[in-house]
């Protein structure tokens, strides 16, 4: 790790002001579970860290009739185990509990999980000056790309590593951001950007901008949600593929569907084609198969990740069937 100065902010104003200096070579530290490995492997070499943990209120969970507001510092462990969240936003709770290991979930925060950098083994290796680091090549495109993207990865085929992001996007969450220029709110789906938009950074945050909180509206009655994640090692591992599915039923009919994939694209990957197959219908095996096929249309697997196509199709099918069955059970 390179030497850096450490600044503990006690207000958001303070934090964004601290971020403005040092020509952008400043990083926010929340739980540090991703930032510290980034610094140890030379991916990040900030001159200053701004610690958010001294800012009051950023670790708050607020549940109201309108929805769920989570401060950026809420630990993953709390999201995973919070009875209210498990009740209202099951996919998010499941996503948080499927992320990393118990100790990392204790330290790791929601904001850090959403803003973590990709795990691509070329990006994380100092020997490869890849496109994401300002180089001219994506080494994975024709290299060891078993863990890489099958969607949206033409320029840089990382996958977004977060397990909470697909769940929150499926919950139609909105992010609140704060910079010296003030506050802005964006749908979380628009927070993440493809490498074709910005190959160097995975989200729209400016260098002096902070993710403050995330708001997920309460789902309509009759909503069932889940997060399904497949990994090589259950104990702790990033997703080979995952799916957040949020379905609303009126009687037997699916009236609203959100299907968002993880582990297959540089951003949480929405599946509008699959969603529209479902909406307006009672689900049966044939329709579910149709929807999961539709979700994988346009997939562009690389030399070593063809399997992600059938894997993803398989888990979408399973997730939809389970949600449909759980609806019938109620």
């Amino acid at each position: 790790m390179n030497p850096f100065e450490y600044a503990s902010a006690d207000s958001l104003d303070d934090a964004v002001a601290l971020l403005r200096e040092k020509k952008g070579r400043v990083r926010v530290i929340a739980g540090g579970t991703d930032l510290i490995p980034q610094m140890k492997s030379g991916v990040a070499e900030p001159e200053r860290l701004v610690d958010l943990k001294g800012i009051p209120g950023l670790d708050r969970v607020e549940i109201s009739a309108g929805g769920l507001r989570l401060g950026t510092l809420v630990p993953l462990t709390e999201i995973a185990s919070h009875p209210g969240i498990r009740e209202s936003h099951a996919a998010l709770a499941q996503g948080a509990s499927a992320a990393a290991s118990p100790q990392i979930r204790n330290a790791g925060t929601l904001g850090g999980n959403l803003c973590q950098r990709p795990r691509c083994w070329y990006f994380r290796n100092e020997d490869f000056h890849c496109r994401k680091k300002g180089g001219s090549e994506c080494f994975a495109l024709e290299g060891e790309n078993k863990y890489h993207a099958i969607f949206g990865g033409d320029d840089c085929c990382i996958v977004h590593p977060s397990d909470t992001a697909p769940a929150l996007v499926a919950c139609e969450a909105e992010a609140t951001l704060r910079s010296p220029r003030g506050e802005r709110r964006v749908p979380l789906a628009d927070f993440f950007v493809l490498p074709s938009v910005d190959v160097r950074w995975e989200n729209i945050l400016a260098k002096d901008e902070i993710l403050v909180s995330v708001f997920a509206p309460s789902p309509p009655p009759g909503t069932r949600a889940s997060y399904t994640k497949i990994r090589e090692r259950a104990s702790f591992d990033f997703a080979l593929a995952s799916v957040a599915a949020v379905l609303t039923f009126e009687g037997a009919t699916c009236t609203r569907a959100r299907i968002v994939l993880g582990g297959v694209a540089p951003i949480p990957w929405p599946c509008p084609a699959a969603e529209s197959v479902l909406v307006g219908h009672a689900l049966d095996d044939a329709l579910i198969a149709h929807a999961s096929n539709a979700a994988l249309e346009g997939a562009a697997p690389l030399s070593k990740n063809r399997y992600k196509v059938s894997l993803t199709r398989g888990i979408i099918r399973r997730a939809l069937a389970n949600l449909n069955a759980s609806k019938e059970g109620t």
């Binding site: 601290l18 100790q103 990392i104 204790n106």
Partner: protein, 172 residues
Amino acid sequence: MLPLMANILGPGKVPLTLEINARRVEVSAEPRATLLEILRDHLDLTGTKNVCEMGECGACTVHLDGVARYACLTLAVEAVGRRVTTIEGLSSANGTLHPLQQAFVEKDGLQCGFCTPGQVMAAAALLAENPSPSHDEIRAAMAGNICRCGAYPKIFEAVAEAAARMKSARQD
């Protein structure tokens, strides 16, 4: 709108006051020093092991305000004002082993022993929060601690045994 300069530490060495195993200690370290480095290199508390340095193995598990954390992913400055407990602080001052440590010995929940302090600390955090964990809860709580020797089955047994003993001790 200039931030308070007093808030900024480093990049050179700064004095840090830490509370480790219920003792106040003063160290001088750069902000980039991890808690793991401080424990091992400054305080000679070498029970907390350094294996991967990247949060991928669990051998450096300690408690921060009673919660299990990887010391390799915690900066020492972040631990200021918080209670740090290491494996050395788990047994009582007179050296009597914690019931978990005792159960690890009796059930042979260890082989080479290098991951053991981390395993014990992960288990201790579990039992503090959930005194009667199910078998599945034990496994889930131990998922962040790699044991290359493969002592897992006996680790699970040891944790279950310690939970049972601590429970009956509380009832006495």
